[in-house]
Amino acid sequence: MLSIKNLKASIEDGTQILKGINLEVKPGEVHAIMGPNGSGKSTLSKVIAGHPAYHVDGGSVELNGKNLLEMEINERANSGLFISTQYPTEIPGVNNVEFLKMALNSKRAFLGQPEMSDEDFKKLCEEKMNLLEMDERYRERGVNDGMSGGEKKRNEILQMAILDPKVSFLDETDSGLDIDALRIVANGINHIMSPEKAVILVTHYQRLLDYIKPTYVHVLRHGKIILSGGPELALKLEDQGYDWIEEAK
């Protein structure tokens, strides 16, 4: 499904952040990526999405056999990639619902499907907002405008639910969430997840993984995945931190 091979990327001043990432994600899998601050987790998501601040030095990223790195940013999204960043951007003045509708219909146009009618879109929106226990105020607000950290993360998952991507890369979706919001967001992700889809979660804490059971856990450090394992790895990291990995080497 998503195949990342020897991905290397740097920022404008030439500093290489990703130094050869390899990751295979199959349908139905949940991958958790953990690692200390500054290890390259957020960079990985942005490079895959095509953020212009990063330069790909080498490697490939394929989604169902198509090279994402050769696509425009919007084409990557419309091909089934969804990236939720750690700090969702605020766009005052762009209405949440209009934005969602535009995004959904852009995807449908890309896939050769007709525009969704206003009525059908309203129903879809209501269904997903109910799933995430979001109130009507979200409809009237600007995209992430003036929202708390938790509200922004919930809004991101609403987008994910509506756009129905094949692979979702969620960067610290649990940050800024209180206990109830964490449960609601995690339930939403589980509900959206299916055997045909995959999710990559970046997180620092086990608490999110209590709700969303990972198939694999990876440790990213210094721009490389240095260790992979099952769900038990996350528990060990929570308990012992990251230094033991370096020491064991």
Partner: protein
């Protein structure tokens, strides 16, 4: 009717005499620093010989000017005098105290002069429509006296006007507790200038200015505001936003003057410009003259391109780049008027920006 306000307006003879004194606008006059003054045709009454002479050598005052009341003689803005000097017949209208009125103004000549005397506590919504243009230049002047606690909105959101040269001048006097909201959208394709002199004469008077220029091609639009805080606890807000493409040019010359003994004044000025092309340009000149300590006055100016992170966010959700740009431009534009209270002005301006 406020007789003093009406009497202080210049007559045609006084205006002509004053224009002869001032001479044609020149770039070294701070009121016209940014304006393409060479595009202004010399009015017949000024004479070609006179127009060629320096503005520092005014003609001798005529009998009319010698006896003119001080306000007419002190007028320094060419655009304020031009309609009157061109014999624009004043349309004088009184709106009585406590009245609620919605009106549309449309001048049917190249030169227009409107005088409004708005009574205490009146609530007025005034839309200004484009005038009928048959010549190379159009100039309108509006003298508006606002009574105590009156609430007035003045707005225009006209479709792109292609007349070669247009001036609009507003002379606004506000009494205690009154509010004037001035809002405009300009998509004109040629050269224009809006000048406003607002006198906040009574305690607690408020002036709110919002303008949006969406320009392309060779359009050249200029704004000049002077807000006089002449009483305590008066407030003013200026928000000017510009979306400029092609070789479009905008200038904003905004002055705030706070008088002696005007305690508790609050004034803000903010100009935000997005340049969509390399050849588009903006010039901003804020002026603050403050003669009292207990005041809060701010000014700011930003110039840039569309926000790169916002663009990335929209495009990363599958929206094509061009559509994302349009969404951001629309939101930038709409934000100008979002803080306005629900009113005919807000409805009209937002409709012009595609909000139904």
């Amino acid at each position: 009717m406020n007789a003093e306000f009406i009497q202080n307006l210049p007559t045609a003879e006084q205006a002509i005499a004053r224009l002869r004194e001032l001479g044609m606008p020149k770039r070294n006059n701070e009121l016209w620093s940014f304006f393409p003054v060479a595009k202004i045709p010399t009015p017949e009454f000024m004479g070609t010989n006179f127009a060629a002479s320096p503005a520092t050598s005014p003609a001798a005052p005529t009998a009319a000017t010698a006896t003119t009341a001080a306000p007419a003689n002190q007028e320094t803005d060419f655009a304020a005098l031009l309609p009157i000097a061109n014999n624009a017949r004043p349309m004088i209208r009184e709106i009585v105290a406590g009245a609620a009125e919605m009106a549309m103004l449309k001048c049917n000549n190249d030169f227009g002069h409107t005088v409004l005397d708005i009574g205490k506590g009146a609530k007025v919504s005034l839309e200004i429509l484009d005038n009928k243009v048959t010549h190379d230049i159009a100039a309108e002047r509006f003298d508006i006296n606002v009574g105590e606690n009156a609430d007035v909105e003045i707005f225009f959101a006209n479709p792109a006007c292609d007349l070669p040269l247009r001036f609009r001048h507003f002379n606004i006097h506000e009494a205690a507790g009154s509010t004037v909201r001035f809002s405009s959208i300009c998509k004109d394709t040629a050269i224009g200038r809006v000048s406003i002199e607002c006198h906040l004469k009574g305690e607690g008077a408020n002036f709110d200015y919002r303008s949006l220029h969406v320009l392309d091609g060779e359009a050249s639009q200029h704004s000049r505001l002077t807000i006089y805080h002449e009483a305590p606890r008066t407030t003013s807000t200026q928000l000017a936003r510009n979306l400029l493409s092609g070789s479009a040019r905008v200038s904003y010359d905004g002055s705030v003057i706070v008088g002696y003994d005007c305690t508790g004044v609050n004034s803000s000025q903010l100009v935000n410009t997005i340049l969509m092309s390399e050849d588009a340009s903006v010039s901003v000149k804020p002026v603050l003259k403050i003669y009292h300590d207990d005041v809060e006055c701010t000014h700011g100016n930003t110039v840039g391109e569309l926000d790169a992170e916002q663009m990335f966010y929209l495009v990363s959700r599958g929206i094509p780049k061009k559509a994302a740009q349009e969404m951001l431009m629309r939101s930038f534009a709409q934000e100008t008027f979002l803080p306005l209270p629900d009113s005919p002005a807000k409805k009209r301006l937002m409709a012009e920006l595609g909000v139904r």
